[in-house]
Symmetry: C2
Subunit: 337 residues, 2 copies
Amino acid sequence: MKNKRPTLDDVAKRAGVSKSAAAAIFVQKQSTVRVSPETRSRILLAAQEMNYRPNAVATSLRRQSTNTIGYYTGYVTVDLRVPFHNHLLNGIRQACDEQKRHLLLQGTFPDTPIEQIYNDLTDGKIDGLILHSHAGHPILDYLRQDRLPVISIAEKLAGFSAVTIDDAGGSNSIAEHLHALGHRHILYRAPGDVHTTSQRYPQFMTMASELGMEVVRDSHLGSFGEVSAMEEELLRSGGRSHPTAIVCWNDLFAHQFMRHCKKNGIKIPDDLAVTGFDGYAPHPFFEAAPAYELTTIRVPWVEIGRIAAQLLLKQIGGAEIPLETLVPVEFVCGTTS
Amino acid sequence: MKNKRPTLDDVAKRAGVSKSAAAAIFVQKQSTVRVSPETRSRILLAAQEMNYRPNAVATSLRRQSTNTIGYYTGYVTVDLRVPFHNHLLNGIRQACDEQKRHLLLQGTFPDTPIEQIYNDLTDGKIDGLILHSHAGHPILDYLRQDRLPVISIAEKLAGFSAVTIDDAGGSNSIAEHLHALGHRHILYRAPGDVHTTSQRYPQFMTMASELGMEVVRDSHLGSFGEVSAMEEELLRSGGRSHPTAIVCWNDLFAHQFMRHCKKNGIKIPDDLAVTGFDGYAPHPFFEAAPAYELTTIRVPWVEIGRIAAQLLLKQIGGAEIPLETLVPVEFVCGTTS
DNA sequence: CGCGTATGATATATTGATACATCAAGTACG
DNA sequence: CGTACTTGATGTATCAATATATCATACGCG
């Protein structure tokens, strides 16, 4: 029969020493308690014979630290299959692995009471929290009153450090690229009340104006895959009129729109140019004969996850970290423009 | 300044009651201690004023249960962007959310000492563990000696319950489908020493023989994207000879191979039929104008993750769960056959 | 020989919540 | 009116480690 798990007391008893002596062997940082080599090996032998392993929960309670960070996936998107989640998580996990920390996936259904979310995030299970895509979420006000170290990804949130993306630079690149190709009339497709839009659209507008391009704004939100009225019109016109290019706020919208183009016989980029933003490096799995290679801004999501986790761990360690860490992006010229 | 976090003692003191009374209000299951409505509200008021939240780590220690399950991602594939990971995780998270449990992502670099992995998995941080793709991993022997509840996904592992996939049924479907289309010479492409192969290949062979088809086996492993000698030959021949169909052990191999077909001008399915296995329901993100719709066996990975987590939680709760839970698959006829 | 110090331990308080035993006061009832 | 039982609490041990104080010896040295 599988026995009860041995504790440090059991080990000490078997080795014929005090608990303090036994503890000195297993404590994470070096102990002030000294143990002779012979005693040490006696304790280690006893521990091995009993298959002793320290209890992480007890250690966490006493040390007031769990060596675990959380990634909160609630609110906007809970589906872990969404690329930004698994790309970020992959990077976060790399950092955790390197520093021997653990990663807790925390997320809640949209209708979970805010108090419960707050409780869940700040009940001591984690030493720090990574947030992404939570601008405007009521949890932020709660977290600001708490001592839990928090880092934000892709958004500046008052009171927290952030790893941000060079949205402005990316937007400039797209505007310049389209201008160079001769496009003068652009449809800018991005939902209105979304944080990312506010980071990308104004800069695009500024640059577009400088270059003398006309931009029409389509801020329909809708659900993924839904076609807006302006898009509908564009599809009906066959794309062979103004605007000559559609700038999408992210790759997802671009891909979705291109599906409709295909159905409607619109040729890309001949009839219409399409650009995205995000550039999720597709996993090899998805590289199978893509119909289009999207022109986009490649955002190094995996790297961003990793940087965020590293900064958070520094902060947990007591270090000061910069309020903003800007990560550069890369213009990728595909076949859709 | 942000103060020290209040404890139950602090709340009790402020409300002028004993710790036991205060505890009775916050304890998870109902307490044997009775509290009058007036006292109750006095305690609740005090707690609210102090912003008291119970410490989860202390609770875990006392209750000997963390309400957390682990998902171990080490060994074969650590990259969380691989579809089976994020599909499974999504299902697991659904189940955890429903039952208010937490999910710890545990994984280690390939060169982590086994003792350390064992320690990490069994040090009390989690109440149970989900394993996928770990057949033959040395950690299994360690875990078998432990009390930690474990459930395996997609593989029967001695000593643990498993959620399994109807690999045999899926293999039959593919054999019958190809036979019905007139194919008589098949190349079966699957690495030799992989668990999944042993589940899928024998049944395919049995059914193929019954139907009078000839099957050549290509068991080259190689790394993802690498072309085997047999594939090379097939590509050179332009596919316009025997075999007339290639059965891949999973969608990944199928997609990879099709990339090479495209490069070599081989038309699918006219020159060569291709089938896969897994049928990761692609996220809407990836639905953009796929060049091929792969003929495959759709395995409900999200659902499988969810079932596995639910069973594990039952087992943790003390219930007996079946040693094997077989999940049916679905034949999907695409345009590649 | 007595004082200071290094070595190798032990004893005890602490971390924050929970389970259970105990206890005082009030009520029901024969 | 005494026993039995209910209500509404309190006190204490426990979960498994860690931090710190304390305590014996032994040794160096003037």
